[in-house]
């Protein structure tokens, strides 16, 4: 089984990945061979089984969704990690242009139009509560 070039490009698009020509060719055979391998599961009868959705059987507890004040040191450390900044502000790409304004979904709610980019306030935490950065 082989994927068409377009099938690979569709998956790459869903994953927001640019691929080289060499990668496209490799994934055309590699991805279907992995899917064929995992497809063996179709032989298991699961008609009377509920899906297991997560790693724990105890109730997952969520904390209150509230802003917690950070120390200046912590704030500074986070700002230092910005790939591009203007002062303490995080610089991001233009997401709305006049031409494409109506055809594109809104992807971010923070952002002010600038000339060669947009400047957004860094008012969101950079860490989730799922043990990750």
């Amino acid at each position: 089984m082989e994927f068409t070039r377009q099938e690979v490009l569709n998956l790459a698009n869903l994953s927001r990945l640019s691929l080289t020509e060499e990668e496209i060719v490799r994934y055309q055979s590699e991805i279907p061979s992995i899917l064929e391998y995992v497809g063996k599961l179709s032989e298991v009868d699961t008609s009377s089984v509920a899906p297991m959705t997560g790693g724990v059987s105890h109730a997952v507890e969520l904390r209150d969704d509230e802003a917690v004040a950070q120390s200046e040191e912590s704030r500074r450390a986070i700002i230092n990690e910005f790939p591009e900044s203007a002062g303490d502000l995080l610089k991001v790409k233009t997401i709305l242009t006049n031409k494409k304004m109506d055809s594109r979904p809104r992807q971010a709610r923070t952002g002010l139009r600038g000339n060669d980019g947009e400047v957004a306030r860094n008012d969101e935490s950079t860490q989730g509560n799922d043990g990750s950065v």
């Binding site: 790459a12 089984v49 790693g55 990690e81 950065v133």
Partner: protein, 482 residues
Amino acid sequence: MKPNELTLKQASEALAAKKLTSVELTTACLNEIEARDAELGAFLSVDREGALKMAKESDARYAKVESLSPLDGIPLAIKDNILVRGQKATAGSKMLENYTATYDATVIERLKAAGAVLIGKTNCDEFAMGSSGENSAFQKTKNPYDTSRVPGGSSSGSAVAVSANMAFGSLGSDTGGSIRLPAAFTGVVGLKPTYGRVSRYGAIAMASSLDQIGPFGKSVWDVAAIMTAIEGYDEKDATSAKEISAVPPELLSANMKGKKIGVPKEYFIDGMDPLVERCVRESIDAMKEMGAEIVDISLPHAKYALETYYIVMPAEVSSNLSRYDGIRYGTRLDGGSLEESYKKTRGELFGAEPKRRSMIGSYVLSAGYYDAYYDKAQRVRTLLRRDFEEAFKLCDVIVSPVSPTVAFKVGEKMADPIAMYLSDIYTVSANMAGIPGLSLPCGFAHGMPVGLQLMGKWFDEASILNVGLAFESQRDWRVHSY
């Protein structure tokens, strides 16, 4: 014997008896790194100054008889996908090559509170994806027993640091076998705790329903000592379990008598190296001689575990890796428009395995394929869990090989992803079901270490540690060669 060749327990006792100082232990480890790490490639960064500062502070505590724990003054190494404030955390990826952690993971906060000396960050497969250590974007870690062979992955550097006496213990992470496999390949002890026992806050996520941080050590006691320091409820991890009974190493008992040890018939399959099989089977015979009762058990869905894993895990990977967009941290590459910048950043900075898994994940989660793949796998995952629930009605602990082979040659499996995935065939089930798994050395085959896996009931690390301690104290694995 050089100080860095002691076990953690021996080093801890020497500190308490004032026969050695933490500065001496730390210097010995740093010297070993200096002497051998150019060849072995275990560390991505070494914090010489920071480690010596922590060692001096520890020595001051010992001088005042105020030591904090058995880990006080003990040099430990940390996998580079765990955040240590102010230090690089690359997760083995170009995406985070210049990222400095802005906070401590909970496990790091706890190790610091226990007085441990953090000596450096260790190499790993990119975002912990790999079974050999070869997927790191920066360097290949080599097996200390034979540098033409891989050390196993993904926590390659953490295993090698302990195996080569560059640290007394270390932390790794295990999503499908990433602690147990490199422990087995390099002749050290590694523990994948029950899901929910150790906080994942500050661990760079790969597959969030499977990931668990755990320790490596030179002995079962050493692993139990590190475990005691890091485990326990943490409000910053929503899946953290509240009520667990700690197992400090002094409460372990090396007694095999009357323990019911289950041997799953499905785990001795075609394709397993015959010498590895002999080594494992004779180890099971030895357990019987030590007084254990060996029970035949069945895990009927075990043959589907790897397939299930390679649907559930990439689905979670595709979601977790979506945060690497070059916007808030990490490296940003400009591709013109926002969308093209995402693609360029991710396309050029992710290596082959993260890309492959992201695309597989996107596929199994897409409309039209979701039911056939993702939903199906989640249901089989329930069956895998039930298999263990049934098996544990008949036994206290399940014993199996860690992997079908010993450490393979560098480069041998890089061209064939499925051959690489098969290294984890015996380890993924514990992650799918959420149970703990201990890997401990049980002998040599082809001149390379062989690992024995002990799996326990949910939150019953005590049983596998007790059986492991009994096995280790009554059978010297170094003299059994096949």
